[in-house]
Every structure is written in C-alpha cells, then in structure tokens.
C-alpha cells in the first residue's frame, strides 16, 4: 500500500512539474467510492452497480458502490457533503434527495448548494391506480368522486414524502380535493394494500404496477409524466385533465460541492456514453424506465426545480414533523 501511495504521489509531483496535464487526464488514480443512500438490492442499488461496472471498465480504476442506508438517503448525502471534493467520492441520488430537506430541516444538507450535479441517469413516471371496487374507470370520474366526498377516502403511499405521496398531494391540491394519507412501509407493502383493496387508490411506479394492471387487479387512471407513455399508450397523462401537472421519479449522480469541473465533465461523459449503449438501453427498458443522460447544468436545474416545487407542495399540504 505504502509503495503504491509513494509511486502515486511521486508521479503526481512529476506530472505537476513536467507537464501541465489537465486534472482530467490523470483522474482517477485511485478507487472511486459511489455512495448510495439505500440498502443493497432494489433498483437504485442495482442501477448504481451497473454504472459502477461500466465506469470501472472505462477508467481502469475500481468504482465501488458503498451503501450508506439510513434516514431515507439523508445519511448518504451528509456523508458525501462532508467528503473531500476530489472526485473520489460521488453519490448516486434519487428523487427523495431534493424532497427530504423540505420534509425535515434536520437532514443537514442543501440539495442545491452542497453538491455539484453530474448527470441524470433515468426517470420513471407514476401511475394513478384504483381498485376495481372503487368503481371509477377514468381520471375525470375519479376527480368527481373524490371532490364530492372530501376526507372520506383513503389513499396509500410507500412512505411519507415518497413520490407516491407527493404525486397525490399535488393532484389533490390542484383539484382542490381531500383524502386521508395512509403511509405503508415501502412500495411492496403499498402494492399489497392496493391489490387487496385495503386502500381504494394510490400512485405507484409504472414497472411494479404493470402485471397487476394486466391481471385486472388494479385499474390505471392516469400517468404523471407530461406525455403518455409508450408502454401504456391508452392511459392518459394527468396533465390532460389537470393542466401543468407533471412529476417523474428520477435518479442520477452528484459530487460534493467544489469538485473540479474537469472531473465532473469526465464522469458525465463516461456515464452518458454508457447510457447510450444497447446493454444499458435494454436494461432500463426492462425496468420500465427511460434513460435520460443529461448535462450537469440540466441535471442541476432538475434538482433545483424539484426542490422548489416540492417545498411548496409540502408546505401547502402541511406535512411537517412535529
């Protein structure tokens, strides 16, 4: 170990002396840690591992996934925020990254001020699903029924502040309706509650919902993306009934604030290149998500836009921990 460090520092010193090679050309010289704020397994972890593998091949240095689960991903974010901005610690984030700080001021990070965006990786819409016993077939019928019975119906989510929860709060606010939020411990439990009719309706991700739509266990009413999806072209976008409504769950990479633009650029190019491969496209298609490599600026705008949008929704819905 010592010898390699010595060689590395010697070559670094030499490099600085002899040539003025850009930081990018000799990055990475060492193992790069990808912090993921969820337990091993699950989509986020799997996606990060695939990207890590691709980056390892591309750069010839190990990119290692480090799962720091806890506090809905906040623990990972504070770890990365405190890490040296040298490109050797980056984070794989998902939508909750820009939601958590508005839910709980104690999380200890600012999604915009404390990080450098690298790129978005993929995104997926949610579906508004109803149990057949609720007896609505379209979004218009649903809106009518919910508005006529304020506070009478329950709706489920995978947890407080999850995109399934905020999708519903946003919709209820826009149609001026009211329903009681029943949070479940994760998306799997929510799906069970929805299929058994324990809750009459809820938003859930497209991928997990499809088999249950096909079997007729749940009825899809609308999709949260601005446009209809190719996977379920007969399901209208919420925006067709409620103009301006849009919400997608996304994921992507960020680095601690102050990471050099050269390193950000190198990582961005490598990840976007991988996302363009057939292997990546096939993988994300199976997950039912859209590959969406973007520029650091675009991803930064997405994080900031969501941060502001959800801060408003959360404030208006009065979701605040005591």
């Amino acid at each position: 170990m010592k010898l390699t460090t010595l060689i590395a520092s010697a070559s670094l010193a030499l490099g600085a002396l002899v040539t003025s090679a850009s930081a990018q050309s000799d990055y990475p010289k060492d193992l790069v840690r990808i912090v993921v704020g969820s337990s091993p397994g699950g989509t986020a972890d799997t996606v990060s591992r695939l990207v890590a593998e691709a980056l390892t091949k591309k750069f010839g240095q190990s990119f290692v996934v480090d799962n720091i689960a806890g506090a809905g991903g906040a623990l990972a974010a504070t770890t990365v925020k405190a890490a040296k901005p040298d490109g050797y610690t980056i984070q794989f984030i998902f939508s909750s990254f820009s939601i958590l700080p508005s839910l709980n001021t104690g999380v200890g990070y600012d999604p915009v001020a404390d990080f450098e965006p690298i790129t978005e990786v993929s995104s997926a819409p949610n579906l508004l699903l109803a149990h057949p016993s609720f007896e609505v077939k379209t979004l218009a019928e649903w809106i009518e029924k919910v508005k006529a019975n304020p506070g009478k119906f329950d709706y489920g989510s995978g947890g407080i502040g999850y995109s399934q929860h905020l999708s519903m709060e946003m919709l209820l606010q826009q149609i001026d309706g009211d329903a009681v939020h029943i949070p479940y411990a994760g998306s799997g439990a929510l799906l069970g509650a929805l299929v058994s009719g324990e809750v009459p309706f809820a938003f859930d991700t497209l991928t997990t919902a499809i088999p249950h739509i096909q079997s007729g266990a749940v009825i899809p009413l609308a999709i949260t993306s601005a446009e209809r999806s190719d996977v379920l072209p007969e399901v209208p976008a919420v925006a067709e009934e409620v103009p301006g409504y849009e919400l997608t769950a996304w994921n992507g990479f960020v680095a601690p604030k102050g990471t050099s633009p050269e390193i950000i650029k190198a990582l961005n190019e490598a990840i976007v290149e991988y996302l363009g491969t057939d292997q990546a496209k096939e993988f994300f298609a199976k997950l039912g998500t859209t590959v969406s490599g973007s520029s650091p600026e675009e991803f930064g705008a997405l994080i900031k836009g969501d941060y502001e949008k959800f801060a408003k929704v959360i404030e208006q819905a009065g979701i605040k921990p005591e």
């Binding site: 091993p40 989509t43 695939l50 623990l75 407080i160 998306s187 079997s215």
Partner: protein, 501 residues
C-alpha cells in the same frame, strides 16, 4: 392428476444439470452467510443480483431462493455453538441450543436443527405445491386490525418466554418495545429518540442488537473466569441423535412447521416471528417443557422448523400474486423483472416451468442442505476445541465485519458494543434478552398496524371487535391472559390461606 404433471414438469426443470448446480451454489452460499453473524441473505442476494443477469431465469431464481432458505439452516450453527445468532430468525435457538452445547450436546443440537429444518422444508414445499393460491387469498384477507390483534396475542404470549421472574420478563418486553420506538415515525416523518443523529433515524439495527445481547454478552461472561468456559472444556458426547431424541423432536417439528407455514405467508413477520411463536407454543405444550431453557432439544427443533417453513411459505404471495412479503422477496421480484419476467397473478400460467421448477428445487435444495449440514456437524463441533483466546477474537471480528458490511456505518459498531455490554449487565441482573428481542420486533409492527387501523377507521376503536379475524385473536389473547395469570392468582390465594391456618 394435474398436480402430478405439474410436479413432473417441476422435476424436469429442477433436475436440469445447470439448475441443480446453481441450486447447490445457492444453498452453499446460504449456509455460509447463515453461519457468518451479521451477513444476512438480503445483503448476499443483493450483491449476487448483478451476476444473475447473464443467467437463465430459472437458474437465477433457483439460486437466489437457495441462498434465502439456506441461510435459515446456517443461522442456527453459531447460535448453538457460541450463543451467537447467525441470522435474526435464529436468535431464539440460542436459548436451548447453546445450553445443549454447554452440556456437551452440540452435535445432537446441530443435528436436530438440520433434521427439523429439512422436515419443515419438505412439508412447506408440499403446502406451496398444493395450496399456494387459496393461502394467498387468506393472507389478503388480513387487514390492519387483524394484524394488530395478532400482535397483541404475541405480546401476551411472550411472557411465557421467561423462565425466571415474570416481572423481569415483563420489564424486558417493555424495554424492547421502547427500543423499538427509536427511529422515524412512518406516519409523520418525525424522528423519535434518535438523539439528533441521522444514524438512528431508521431505528436500532436488529442484527447488532441480537448479536450484542446474546453473543457478545456471553463472551464477556466467559471472560470473567477461566473456569466457566464450559463450552470448550466439557467433553463432547456423541454427535448424533438417539432414538429418544428423534422421538422428542418429532412433535415440536410438526408444530413448528405449522406455525412457520402460517406466519410465513403473512407480509412482514415471516420467519423471525415464526421462530419466536413456535418456541412459545412449545414451552406451553411440550411434555418436557420444564427443561426448556436448560438445553431441551425441543427448544431447538421447534424454532428451527418454524423459521425454515416460514422462509419457504413467504414465497407464496410472491409466486401467486406478485406481491413481496419481505425485503428478500422484493429483491426476488426485482430479479424477475430484470430477467424480463413480470411477476404477477398469471405467472403460473405464463411461466409454468419456472414456477414448478422453483418449487421442486426448494425441496431438492433442502435435501442438499441436510446432506451438506449433517457431515459438517463434526467439523463445527471441533471449532469448540479452538483455544478460547483465538476463538473469541475470531468471533468478535467476524461479527463486527458482518454487521459493518451490511450497514456500512461505524455507528453500527457502537451499537454492537453498547448492546454487548448491556447484555452482560442484563445477565448479571438475571434479566433474559429473549423477551426484549420479541418486544423489539413486535413493537414497531404493532404500532404501525394500530395507527393504520385507527387512521382508516377515523379514530373508531370498535374496528378491532367488528373485524372477525381481529376479534378471534383478541378472544384468544384474553384467554391466554387468564391462563397466565390464573395459576399465579391461585398460588397467591394458596399462600394467603396457608398463612391464615
């Protein structure tokens, strides 16, 4: 017979050489992670998931399933030998298993664990093959009030776990409930009792708690004096089960399998609750109940058969409805999706080969596990002859590495140390950790279901009485409470009368 042709199809898939091979790889990996404290099947499956992308869907699922139920076999090994629960679901096995080992009966304890697990695995496989679809419907009929009332019954029954003072047991259950409150309230998002740390936002790490309270505490106790290291000095008497032993484990295995199969189907609880429930029932029903806690072989057979049956019937909601009943099943669903298979109600129709192949492979896997584990018993027992200073260091290091690898935070090391020392203090005070552990598991589930029931009923508590399943559990709970208190009331009266005369 439909079932015969289905099973024939299953055998043809499961006996394909590559599926046999991956089944073996799975159960072997499962046994290993089961033996290693801290490293669970969840983390193992997660890490192996990317490898399965390039495999055939049948082989991938057969292997992942093998890891899951294989871990239930391995988990009992360290529980018996070192009082160190290798898996959360084998925490209760330490009670009698370790006592058996201290009496030089580590071999029979390990053999009982393996054989009762195999028995449970076989029965559970048959249950899945015959009744998967109707059982899944039963699970769906469970609503929040029913869950809550079931937990009430569990909590009342947990007092039975004490073999010392009932008062101390109740105190430990309550302490477990309090420890379970730590973490984020899922209904409001508020962090409770986390002392301002993000690390405690998801609550106390159960694995660190169990390994600390049972395993580390026992090591600390052993370090007190050199003479008390009985595990290592007592001559190991016989490795195999006698006919009398076999007779003694039969009924506990049957009861354990029944409870495990029933609880496994229900979301959330699964194998862990099943092992506790089976032990509690054995302590009430067994002919040798007076020996329980002091090295009764029933106390090994019952929980081990229950956790193995539970881990297998947990597949029912996933296979028949596409709904995960725990985190491992959610991962399996993820694995299917990545293989291009949509798990859902029509999977039996669309993928009959995979469905029946997986079921048959479970039985084959169980057979492999018992063949793998029985010869290993001699080897495991020999571990006890390793000089104690070396063994202690190795066990501590493995526990720490295992827990750290799952959590990835230094904080989990503090938790492990804290619960190790706490467990030692409890031991000196004569307080048993098992009731605390059950309180810790039941508490958060109970609270979740209670508050969900109340939210849905808009604050009307009568839902617990109007829902039939819930009412049934409450009646049984009331009866159990009477049964527990009646003898002590009678005894008190006896004492009172004897004083008078």
């Amino acid at each position: 017979m439909d079932i015969l042709s289905n099973l024939a199809l299953g055998f043809s898939v499961a006996l394909a050489w590559q599926n046999l091979f991956f089944c073996f790889v799975g159960v072997l990996a499962g046994t290993l992670v089961g033996v290693l404290p801290g490293v669970g099947p969840l983390a193992t499956i997660a890490i192996l998931l990317p490898i399965t992308f390039s495999m055939q869907p049948d082989a991938a699922l057969i292997m992942l399933a093998g890891i899951y139920y294989g871990a239930q076999y391995g988990g009992s090994t360290t529980a018996i030998l070192l009082n160190l629960p290798g898996e959360a679901s084998s925490a209760i096995t330490t009670l009698d298993g370790y006592q058996m080992a201290r009496r030089g009966r580590a071999g029979p304890a390990l053999a009982a664990a393996a054989l009762s697990s195999f028995f449970a695995g076989t029965i559970a496989t048959i249950i899945i093959a015959l009744f998967a679809a109707p059982l899944a419907q039963v699970a769906m009929a469970f609503r929040p009030p029913s869950y809550f009332s079931m937990m009430v019954l569990g909590l009342i029954a947990s007092v039975v776990l004490a073999h010392g003072s009932i008062l101390k047991a109740i105190a430990m259950v309550l302490l477990g409930l309090l420890l379970g409150i730590i973490g984020t309230d899922i209904y409001t998002g508020s962090a409770r009792l986390n002392m301002g740390t993000l690390e405690l936002a998801d609550g106390v790490d159960f694995v660190a708690l169990a390994i600390g309270l049972f395993g580390i505490a026992e090591i600390l106790r052993n370090l007190e004096t050199s003479e008390t290291r009985e595990v290592l000095t007592t001559k190991v008497k016989g490795l195999w089960l006698s006919v009398a032993d076999l007779k003694r484990i039969l009924m506990p295995s049957v009861r354990g399998t029944a409870i495990g199969s029933a609880l496994g189907i229900l979301p959330g609880g699964g194998a862990m609750l099943a092992s506790f429930a089976a032990y509690i029932i054995e302590k009430k029903m067994s002919k040798n109940r007076s020996e329980m806690g002091q090295g009764a072989i029933e106390g090994v057979a019952a929980p081990e058969s229950a956790n193995n049956a539970g881990s297998q019937t947990a597949f029912i909601p996933m296979l028949t409805l596409g709904l995960p009943s725990n985190a491992v099943m959610a991962l399996m669903i993820g694995a299917m999706i990545l293989q291009g298979i949509q798990p859902g109600p029509d999977i039996i129709v669309k993928q009959p080969g995979m469905f029946w192949g997986l079921i048959v492979s479970m039985w084959i896997g169980n057979l492999m596990l018992v063949l793998l584990n029985l010869p290993l018993i001699g080897l495991w027992v020999r571990f006890l002859t390793v000089p104690y200073p070396i063994l202690v260091v190795a066990v501590m290091a493995f526990s720490a590495v295992g827990i750290y690898s799952a959590s990835g935070t230094v904080f989990s090391m503090y938790e492990l140390s804290f619960f190790g020392i706490l467990g030692y203090v409890f031991m000196r005070l004569g307080c048993e950790p098992a009731p605390l552990t059950l309180g810790f598991i039941l508490g958060p589930m109970m609270e979740e279901q209670l508050r969900r029931s109340m939210l849905m009923s808009r604050g009307d508590p009568t839902v617990f009485l109007t829902e039939p399943i819930s009412l049934g559990f409450l009646i049984v709970a009331a009866a159990a409470l009477l049964l527990i208190t009646a003898p002590s009331i009678a005894r008190k009266r006896e004492e009172a009368f004897s004083e008078e005369s």
